[in-house]
């Protein structure tokens, strides 16, 4: 008795749905030895714009949710990720050509990092914000707030861990994300999108584009409704041109990183996509 497998169609993840690229384009994803695995959607400029519109619309709800609520939703993502670990391991082995042990280790670390960031939602403001002892009768408090829509070029040399390491910290403060997945290893990105879609994460909070980062990133960098640009995985692109394009609307830009420590877990990755708001309030003179 044999079962003929039902392979998955890997599509984009935009506004909580899984559309094909509006361009109708796909590109072939293979194993390192060239064996066909899937046709992934090849996102276009229009797909990028749709994703930004969805991300912008989602900012109010996600940023406005309580930190406790964001933490619970993000922790839920880790739970669902854990439940689907076999699928991720299988995809990583086939796509990256690594051993089962290496794939398992990558998934372990991705889950643990996600949990680490989930726990930061209701703490980072206590660490990076503060009361200010100004010389006058004022209550004065500085708090970090989300920057808004963050466009991310995910690390290109990793299926899942790089993606998680770039997306999770941006979500902590209440930003929404448009992420361009690894071009060579896009399958885990779409499977992660399935996890996000079933974890109570509101639609539009994370949008995943697959395809050519070199083609998509310039549209993200120049789009006026993007507030910040994380170029962590853009080392091989013309990233200085991206930074120049981002200057037009003074986007916050986080530079490329490479090597095994790229996008290592840090508080700095959370605060990079926050704005310090300082509120002064008068105190009456009793």
């Amino acid at each position: 008795m044999s079962h003929v497998a039902v392979p998955k169609t890997y599509k984009l993840f935009v506004n909580g749905a899984f559309p094909r690229s509006e361009s109708g384009r796909v590109y072939e994803v293979t194993t390192p030895k060239g064996v066909f695995l899937a046709n992934a959607a090849k996102a276009s400029r229009k797909d990028a714009r749709d994703a930004i519109v969805a991300a912008r619309a989602a900012v109010g709800g996600w940023a406005g949710a309580t930190a406790y609520n964001r933490g619970q939703v993000l922790y839920r993502v880790a739970e669902v990720l854990e439940g689907r670990r076999a699928q991720f391991e299988d995809e990583i082995v086939r796509l990256e050509g690594v051993s089962a042990g290496a794939a398992r280790a990558q998934v372990d670390e991705a889950i643990d990092r996600w949990v680490w960031y989930a726990g930061w939602t209701d703490k980072f403001a206590q660490v990076s914000g503060n009361a200010n002892p100004v010389a006058g009768p004022y209550f004065n408090l500085s708090v970090p707030e989300p920057t808004g829509v963050v466009a991310v070029v995910a690390p290109q040399d990793s299926s899942l861990l790089g993606l998680v390491s770039a997306v999770a910290p941006a979500l902590v403060a209440g930003n929404t994300v448009v992420v361009v997945a690894s071009e060579a290893f896009p399958l885990s990105a779409i499977t992660l999108a399935e996890v996000l879609a079933t974890s109570d994460l509101p639609k539009g909070v994370v949008n995943v584009l697959t395809g050519s980062p070199a083609e998509i990133a310039p549209w993200l960098a120049s789009h006026a409704d993007v507030n910040a640009l994380d170029l962590v995985g853009a080392a091989e692109l013309e990233w200085i041109d991206l930074e120049i394009a981002a200057a037009e609307t003074l986007k916050r830009v986080y530079p490329p990183e490479s090597g095994p420590d790229a996008a290592a877990p840090s508080l700095a990755r959370i605060t990079a996509f926050t704005e310090t708001k300082t509120v002064w309030h008068t105190k009456s003179l009793l």
Partner: protein, 479 residues
């Protein structure tokens, strides 16, 4: 003589001991520049104050080299404690020479002496005093143990608060262990050069702070110099954008404090008399030459007429004139160029259908002046509601609900500051949460303190000045 007429009470300029000509301050000494010189004038009289050196590319090179040498050989080897003591010395010298600095500032900038004397200069001293204490406590700046200085900082500052902006830039840079090349604005270089004399009195090691004067070209050469590690700029969004482009990929850490179009929101449950004072302070302080000025008044519709009437009555008591007169409320516009821009945008406001009003006031014949002006019947699409005028011009808009106030306040590419007036604390906190602005003043406006971070969201720039956050802008983690 009505209650508004005062006998003139001019602050004496005898306290000043100005030179007819100033060189560049490089390596601890005043030196001649390669680019010739230009005049700095008093905007109140258009009379020349002094000749100022114009730094060319070679001068910029020399200044950066002096800063690099001082960083490598002296400043980076000094302990935080000792760096701090130099900053404390500077704070004290500023206090000692406070009156002189205030008079020089009002003379060169055109701002009323009561503002330079009571706001600018005391804050300059406070800024150095605050950051002096940070110099030996960098481990607590939020970057982990042993954070490191960046190296040579290039700093370019505007003309609206010349000496205060210098303090905002130099104090945290030195506390963090960097050395500095600073360029003041071409219309207001005077107090920076007096400050250089203070550095000599403080015996600050040569080259730790270098001050070069010149116009946009000099600033461009400075921020694009390859041996600079940090760029800090305060000024227009257009120039900020140019700097962000030209430093892209350079690895230079960048702080930009740019333009604004702040909403000052007045709810119908606000203490109206206080609010009127706050509105006046918000837009007419420093002739409106303030990036965080409350230039868009959003007033709840049901109290609009009352508020505008009281505003007009209050404006009629403002005294416009000699910046050095201790009674003056509104001084001179800083330059002919800025005056032309304020006039142009105000004319556009009228042409687009807004209603213009100014109190009757006699403006001096010489110098650059613009009467305090209010526009009513302004809609959100008018240029005077969207563009930074940087002058004593207030645009009044109305709203009905808090949600509408928030939407209108946030309807701008800028995000530097905002004001909220209400007696209801819960409403203030809820509105403050939703405003996309880096500084929110509730039942007050235009308050500044070295302990309080200042800086914008969106196209008002990035990075913060003031507080622990302002220190971190000049440091990197040790890992």
């Amino acid at each position: 003589m009505s209650f508004l007429e005062y006998a003139p009470a001019p602050e004496s300029t005898a306290i000043l001991d100005l030179k007819p000509e100033y060189g560049l301050f490089i390596g601890g000494e005043f030196v001649a520049a390669g680019g010739g010189s230009f005049r700095t004038i008093s905007p109140a009289t258009e009379k020349q104050i002094a000749l100022i050196a114009n730094a060319d590319d070679a001068d910029v090179d020399r200044a950066v080299a002096a800063a690099r040498k001082a960083y490598d050989k002296t400043w980076s080897k000094l302990s935080g404690r000792d760096r701090g003591k130099y900053l404390f010395r500077i704070a004290r010298l500023v206090q000692e020479r406070a009156r002189e600095l205030a008079v020089a500032e009002s003379l060169d900038n055109g701002k009323p002496i009561k503002e330079s004397r009571d706001v600018d200069v005391p804050l300059v001293a406070a800024w150095f005093f605050y950051y002096a204490g940070w110099a030996d406590k960098l481990d607590y700046a939020g970057l982990g143990a042993n954070p490191r200085a960046l190296g040579v900082a290039a700093q370019v500052i505007p003309w609206n608060f010349p000496l205060l902006m210098l303090a905002w830039k130099i104090a945290p840079a030195l506390a963090a262990g960097n050395t500095v090349v600073l360029k003041p604005a071409e219309t207001t270089p005077l107090t920076a050069l007096l400050f250089a004399e203070i550095l000599q009195q403080a015996d600050l090691p040569a080259g730790v702070v270098n001050i070069i004067t010149g116009a946009g070209e000099t600033g461009r050469a400075l921020v694009n110099h390859p041996d600079v590690n940090k760029v800090a700029f305060t000024g227009s969004t257009a120039v900020g954008r140019e700097i962000a482009r030209s430093t892209a990929g350079s690895g230079k850490k960048l702080t930009l404090e740019l333009g604004g179009k702040a909403a000052n929101i007045v709810f119908d449950d606000a203490p109206i008399d206080q609010a009127v004072e706050g509105i006046v302070n918000g837009i007419f302080f420093n002739q409106g030459h303030v990036c965080c000025a409350g230039s868009r008044l959003l007033v709840q519709e049901n109290i609009h007429d009352d508020v505008v009437e009281r505003l007009k009555s209050r404006l009629s008591t403002l005294r416009v004139g000699d910046p050095l007169d201790k009674n003056t409320d509104v001084g001179a516009i800083n330059s002919a160029e800025q005056l032309a821009r304020i006039r142009e945008l105000s004319d556009v406001g009228e042409a687009e259908g807004a209603e213009r009003w100014s109190p009757a006031c006699d403006l001096p014949a010489e110098g650059f002046w613009f009467a305090p002006t209010i526009f009513t019947n302004v809609s959100t699409s008018h240029r005077i509601a969207r563009e930074e005028i940087f002058g004593p011009v207030l645009s009044v808009l109305t709203f009905r609900t808090p949600a509408e106030a928030i939407a209108k306040a946030n309807n701008t590419p800028y995000g530097l500051s905002a004001g909220i007036w209400s007696d209801k604390g819960s409403k203030i906190l809820a509105v403050a949460d939703k405003l996309r602005a880096g500084v929110v003043w509730a039942n007050t406006f235009n308050r500044f303190d070295p302990a309080s971070p200042f800086g914008g969201y969106k196209e008002s720039g990035y990075g913060r000045e003031g507080g622990r956050q302002g220190l971190a802008a000049y440091l990197k983690g040790s890992k």
